[in-house]
């Protein structure tokens, strides 16, 4: 077994090195390598490595001591850097004082608040909820920074001791700041290693993650220990942010993206091994510095050097063994009994969606917006954008919601679909394959109804999904999240910026208006209706799929892979199918997404944050419920309202309120998952369903719940007095026994 693991790592390392060497030979710049230039490049690499090591240390410490992989670690650094700028540069405080206030007072306070308000409630939450909530904290912190320190002024955090003072190294100078950063990074890593392994509080921090109750039985105060852990992690993030800001500049997105490099470094140490994480960071730093110095990827691959970290992350996650990741993790299932939507209910629901869409696009729901007279293309355009994103979000429903496979790369799948569509309708492949010589005219291809091509795009996207599923088959939880994130990042840096893939935006549309059944959808209203119809059809297909035997397989895998396997479910194959299905939906959605504006920005359009936002919004609405995606339609309603208010210019309070809602709303919604992990739509459905005349089961459930509230103790399980039928139903619901098991007429009738 151990030999097997070592063997696979060795083979993977050899293949990776071989690939790197081939790329290096192909892209060699031809610059002369002297010992001086080589040394200077190495210094730069080590310095970069030290910066990233600091972030990676924070990440590893937080993960080891809290059990939560904190996607917001970078955002804490961003906030701290801006706060430091405010105190030191804007208010003129001494750098040491400002550093102390931010790192020594503010950061630990932030960590403790995060722990008490959010993290404590996340302890028994599922991994999906945990990840979503830390991503939401990241998004929220970044929007707070954007709100307080608006991007209209240029800011710089000065180097400690200036950039011009330092040690002379012959060809160049090593500034004090960089030397300090290097020393501090190594010192922090050593100190943290000592703290975690050699002190009692460090041991207790790890013990609390392992078994909280037992830690208390030993006499440690679990709440104090985990608050300390969060305070420490927050301090490390803050210090990293402040020290890295002079190098990268005070730009929230740039500073935040550093965290992805730190993810890669942390993955080197299997997320828990500090020395290996530091070595990983140094390795990435050296690779980056030497790549920039000696290799030239050409303009088509101009971001390739940035993709070193995501590629390494992908590589490490796939190659490294992941023993003992999930040991002793208790996941609390908040599962009520599961009710499947009936086929005719789905049909009615989808009909209602389409009717609402007709009313909305026809401007008949004018009371929803501020100024009915001005209702127009702006609202429809943002509605189209939102629904295209909702359509992409639907691809996550079977994947995350049912099969429990975390995926941060929906946008990469969608972009791939858009790319395939562009190539297919471009008909360049006809001449490429030599089919024109067989009498096939490219113009005939272009004239074929787009509907066929869109379905073909879906089919062509399936293999990509299956490809991602292959490593996913042996990955779980967090590693899966990291792998898909690295995949999305690598695609957005290497694949999409290539002009052959996504042509540079010029004049006119790259993606022509869609033509279906002889109708060209060239106005916004028609396209909106088309989008809503496609959305309704996909939702209905998912509703039917969920009712099917195959749909239950995915839920079985989500609940317990081992149990599913013993029942004869082929786990790997089932996962491959769900990834392929997700890629099909995302690919088709991508076609519509690209067609909304007709062009896709090949650089900005695939930013990782957009992908995160899709996942977040779908998760907040309720990732296991197909129709939840329609939630996104509220975005254009709010933004449209905001535009109108701004135009009218005399309702400052409302403008501010809406501004706050659109800036912080999505993040706050996701934070709602802390209290309500199944999403907003689920709770809304619970409130709504008793109104429907045929849902007597929902009414009975509410009645049983109310009865339970009135009588807090059910009693001594049938011993003191006989059960009433309502109590039996209440117990069945609590235990999650399915509808089908309970006789339709209830127990009371059967008994009498």
């Amino acid at each position: 077994m151990i030999f097997g693991v070592r063997h696979s790592v060795a083979v993977a390392t050899a293949l990776g090195t071989l690939g790197a060497v081939i790329i290096a030979v192909l892209t060699w710049k031809g610059a002369q390598v002297t010992s001086e230039t080589f040394l200077v490049t190495t210094y730069i690499g080590l310095f970069l490595g030290a910066l990233w090591a600091m972030y990676a240390t924070g990440l590893v410490v937080v993960y080891t001591t809290t059990g939560v992989f904190n996607f917001a670690q970078g955002a804490i650094g961003v906030f701290a850097a801006f706060f430091y700028w405010e105190l030191h540069v804007n208010r003129g405080w001494h750098s040491i004082l400002a550093l102390f206030v931010v790192v020594g007072l503010f950061a630990p306070a932030l960590g403790v608040v995060l722990d008490i308000v959010i993290m404590r409630r996340l302890r028994t939450a599922s991994l999906v909820v945990q990840l979503m909530v830390t991503v939401a904290i990241m998004v929220l912190l970044l929007s707070v920074v954007g709100d307080i320190w608006e991007a209209d002024t240029a800011r710089r955090v000065p180097y400690l001791f200036g950039i011009n003072n330092g040690i002379d190294l012959g060809p160049s100078q090593l500034p004090w700041h960089r030397l300090i950063v290097f020393v501090v990074a190594i010192a922090i890593a050593v100190a943290m290693r000592y703290l975690l392994r050699r002190t009692r509080i460090g041991t207790a921090m790890r013990a609390v993650v392992d078994n909280r109750e037992l830690a208390a039985l030993n006499g440690a105060r679990p709440n104090v220990v985990s608050s300390t852990s969060w305070a420490l992690g927050s301090m490390l993030g803050a210090l990293g942010g402040i020290l890295i800001a002079p190098e990268l500049g005070l730009d929230p997105a740039t500073l935040n993206n550093v965290v992805i490099i730190a993810f890669a470094a942390a993955a080197f140490g299997a997320l828990k091994n500090l020395p290996m994480a530091v070595i990983g960071a140094m390795l990435i730093g050296l690779l980056r510095a030497h790549t920039v110095a000696w290799l030239d990827f050409g303009s088509d691959f101009r971001f390739a050097h940035l993709s070193i970290a995501p590629l390494l992350l992908l590589f490490v996650v796939i190659a490294l063994p992941q023993a003992r990741l999930e040991v002793g993790r208790l996941v609390h299932h908040l599962r009520r009994h599961e009710r499947f939507t009936k086929w005719w209910e789905g049909l009615i629901g989808c009909g209602v969606i389409i009717l609402l869409a007709v009313a909305f696009s026809g401007g008949w729901l004018n009371f929803l917006i501020w100024d009915p007279g001005a209702w127009g293309s702006r609202e429809l355009n943002s509605a189209n954008e939102a629904m295209a994103l909702a359509l992409i979000g639907l691809s996550l429903v079977p994947l995350i919601g049912w099969a429990g496979q975390i995926n941060f790369a929906p946008l990469a799948f969608a972009g791939f679909g858009a790319f395939v569509y562009l190539k297919v309708i471009g008909a360049g492949w006809v001449t490429f394959l030599g089919l024109d010589r067989l009498g096939l005219d490219p113009q005939d291809i272009r004239d074929i109804d787009n509907g066929y091509w869109i379905l073909l795009v879906g089919l062509l996207c399936a293999p990509l999904g299956a490809l991602v599923a292959l490593p996913a088959a042996r990955l779980r939880g967090l590693y899966l999240a990291l792998m898909t994130m690295a995949f999305a990042q690598a695609m957005s840096l290497i694949f999409f910026p290539n002009p052959w893939v996504m042509p540079i935006i010029g004049t006119g549309r790259q993606f022509p208006h869609i033509e279906l059944f002889g109708v060209t959808f060239d106005d916004r209203r028609g396209f909106f209706l088309l989008l809503m119809c496609v959305f309704a059809v996909v939702v209905y297909a998912l509703v039917l799929l969920r009712r099917s035997r195959y749909g239950r397989r995915w839920m079985a895998i989500n609940d317990s892979q081992a149990a599913a396997a013993t029942l004869g479910v082929p786990v790997v194959w089932t996962k491959v199918v769900v990834y392929a299905l997700s890629a099909v939906i995302a690919g088709i959605a991508g076609v519509f997404w690209a067609t909304v504006s007709g062009n896709v920005d090949s650089v900005q359009g695939f930013d990782l944050l957009i992908g995160f936002n899709i996942v977040l919004l779908v998760a907040a609405a309720g990732v296991s419920i197909p129709v939840a995606g329609i939630f996104l339609i509220f975005i254009p309603l709010f933004t449209g309202l905001g535009h109108r208010l701004e135009d009218s210019g005399n309702v400052d309070f409302l403008v501010t309120l809406l501004d706050i809602m659109t800036t912080y709303g999505p993040g706050m919604l996701v934070l709602g998952m802390v209290f309500n992990p199944r999403g907003a739509i689920f709770e809304m459905g619970r409130g709504f369903s008793p109104i429907l005349p045929w849902r007597s089961d929902a009414r009975a459930e509410i009645a049983a719940e109310n009865a339970q509230k009135r009588e807090p103790e059910i009693g001594e399980l049938g011993i003191e007095r006989p059960f009433t039928p309502e109590e039996v139903i209440a117990i069945d619901r609590r235990l999650g026994i399915l509808d089908e098991v309970v006789p339709k007429e209830g127990y009371g009738a059967a008994r009498s």
Binding site: N211, N218, V327, E716
Partner: protein
Amino acid sequence: MNTETANPLLELIGIRAGYGTIDVLHGVDLRVMPGQVYALLGPNGAGKTTTLGVASGQIQPHAGSVLLDGHEVNGVSPDRLARAGVCLIPEGRGIFPNLSVAENLRMSTYAGVSYKQVQERAFAQFPRLQERRNQMAGTLSGGEQQMLAMSRALSTDPAILMLDELSMGLAPIIVEELYEQVASLAEAGLSILIVEQFAQAVLGVANEAAIMLHGRIQRTGPPAEIAEELTAAYLGMS
């Protein structure tokens, strides 16, 4: 031992407790006198573990009071009780699987004893732990894990020791070895509350026994008498 006049070390009076809205204990009365070894026996689901949960502060009772050496300790957190000398070795290997053996022992020092003392006593009693001191506790065998869990009881000089299903899933020879340790602790005068599903293991050590059924203590008495009734209780004839 003068169990008639002394204050009970641990006393539960009319405890009602459970999980969520469902009560498991319906009025439990129990007293452990200083120096007594009290065996709480009963079938699965009788409420034995819940009783220990209440006594150690992990579960707050809905009604009744928990007295420790005559002081009411209702609502006191489990970590405070642990530092005050209540030592519960929970059911199913009370260890931290991702910590090394030595780090597991270091956690015992929260009870107010030195790391040196913990190591010395644990390694003296269980030399096998010393051999494996840098190994992850989760990779130990079941018996070794239970020894590691027991070493907290041996090294921290608790006021009262509570053992939950010490014998569960272990080979008879290891159970015997562990109960020898319990017996020597008892001889040294420690008060012990033992919960077991299978009586044979404890009856040699205990000097008081009780049968628990349906969340109530059905009968208390000398271990030999209780043993006879236990079979009947298990078969549902009580």
